[in-house]
Symmetry: C2
Subunit: 362 residues, 2 copies
Amino acid sequence: MADRRAQRLAALVDSLTAAHLDGLLITSLPNIRYLTGFSGTSALLFVTARDVFLVTDFRYQTQVRAEVGDLARITVEGQSLWTGLWQLLAQAAYVEVAGFESAHLVHRDFQRLVESGPRPRWRATTDLVEALRERKDADEVERIRTAASMATAALDRTLPAIRVGMTELEVAGVLEKSIRDAGSEAFPFPSIVASGPRSALPHARSSARQIAAGEFLLMDFGAASDGYCADITRTVVLGRASDEQRAVYDVVRQANELAAGEVRVGLRGREADALARDYIERCGYGEEFGHGLGHGLGIEVHEAPRLARTADGLLSSGAVVTIEPGIYRPGWGGVRIEDDVHLAADGPELLTQFTHELLELA
Amino acid sequence: MADRRAQRLAALVDSLTAAHLDGLLITSLPNIRYLTGFSGTSALLFVTARDVFLVTDFRYQTQVRAEVGDLARITVEGQSLWTGLWQLLAQAAYVEVAGFESAHLVHRDFQRLVESGPRPRWRATTDLVEALRERKDADEVERIRTAASMATAALDRTLPAIRVGMTELEVAGVLEKSIRDAGSEAFPFPSIVASGPRSALPHARSSARQIAAGEFLLMDFGAASDGYCADITRTVVLGRASDEQRAVYDVVRQANELAAGEVRVGLRGREADALARDYIERCGYGEEFGHGLGHGLGIEVHEAPRLARTADGLLSSGAVVTIEPGIYRPGWGGVRIEDDVHLAADGPELLTQFTHELLELA
């Protein structure tokens, strides 16, 4: 672990050198976790070729030393993290030009930097750490695979407990307990348990609505292992599926399998998106698939790369992405089938092993 | 509900007028929810004295109309929310000077504003909406009370299920299922279930650690009802408490009750903090209470005001705050007892009704 973090820091320093920066202020907590292992919710990290400084607050004084060890010089600040940063920068007088993370620094804190004095000079950067995070190593893929196993094990335990008349929240409770019992350290995002017409809301939460016979039940949830997330969606029917439900489901299923089988390193995000979208459009449901095909997955449940109509980036070797086509009809219902796929050099590898059959729950 | 939102928007427009602003761009999702009722995760809101514009994306096209109705002019944007915003601003040519939320706009998006052209001129603002949110009305307090009841009901159901040898994650699973069964629409923050020495980590998560006899078990968790959060902590012992455990517990309990009984509208945040801190210091544990006494609670689980040594602000009438003193000894364990208190005009009102006795679980 220590070695891997040192490699990541070295790769980041290479990026800084290429960008003519003497240092980088990192305010994104997932980026800090990736580089140092620190998992707390309050930190600033400053990286140069010579030094790694980490500032956190009292609440993490025990945790930060356990997680970071001697990889960084740690300051536990009683007042403001920024006070700690100014003191550290005073120790790093060789830093003349430093970057900050434009996508992860709010304007108020940007003003602090600008007002902090003549040195260092600050420059906006984007995606320096994110670009490293996109290419997962074998250990990272293994953690996502473990999280995916937790998620599918939880679904296995939950499906037999679902009954007509339960509320979405009650189903969420059973599902989330099963996720914990499977060993998940976190819920990477709020579980979606959406029934009937609510399944047509691509970002529904779970509600007090009772599930009726004959309805779709869409479950989109995650698990996390050792800092890495999985994200899966399955849609089932309570009782017997209608012909129309089955027809829509089959289109989504085909689209999922087409894309999950064909997604590859070197495709552009929009080309990956088209693998599923072209099929759904040919079937006449194009207007009803209004979101992108998927997103990268790792320390965060949404990270690079994007798979969407507007995504021009090339998919990197080692990325892990979701493949989640859906068809949504307001007032009627919706279907989404989501899997996690590792883009290995020799082709896509499915991490979420769970049937695509349309399950009709008794 | 519609009336209340209209009142809030009118109060905000008064603030804008006082600040010589023709409009305000709101990028904080909790602020957007407070003003419009929209609970999605992707939105921009622009408020002027004449117009209320809301931009969201496809995923929320059904939900946004149900939640917002005709309170705002709604744009559902297929590409970028910012594209939608530029089009709306073109319709509001009377806006010459507009504010943005300095604490809720990342530098990258601030650059978009600056580069968007000569008009409007943009000015940084802070806390315009947050100041309104601090003073809860009766309906908001009622929602927090409901959420608090869900949290205490869940704890009631969970305690009898806890056994020596269970992991923290298993306890979290039972607790979170009970929170869902009580009707909570969300987990406002990751549940902390921390046992033995891990109870000394003020921001532990739940882990796979097995709970042993004689250990502290600290549970810090929340519930949410109709958009509003509750946040509660209790610390129990598995089996019989030692004299030292009981001594530390009693200090925290006294500090909690002193502060919850004396916290009042018009105190400064640091004066409220001192209600508990002075007592803990007199008992000789001052060094071991390293965080602030509490924080405001509402749509967010951390909002204004702050109760801490460095907090100069006056506590507003109607605020709801946590009172959560703690004592933490690295390697030994920690105790925290947290309640939610409404600062009514006639004195503090406890919203979390749950015993402060030191429970020794069989």
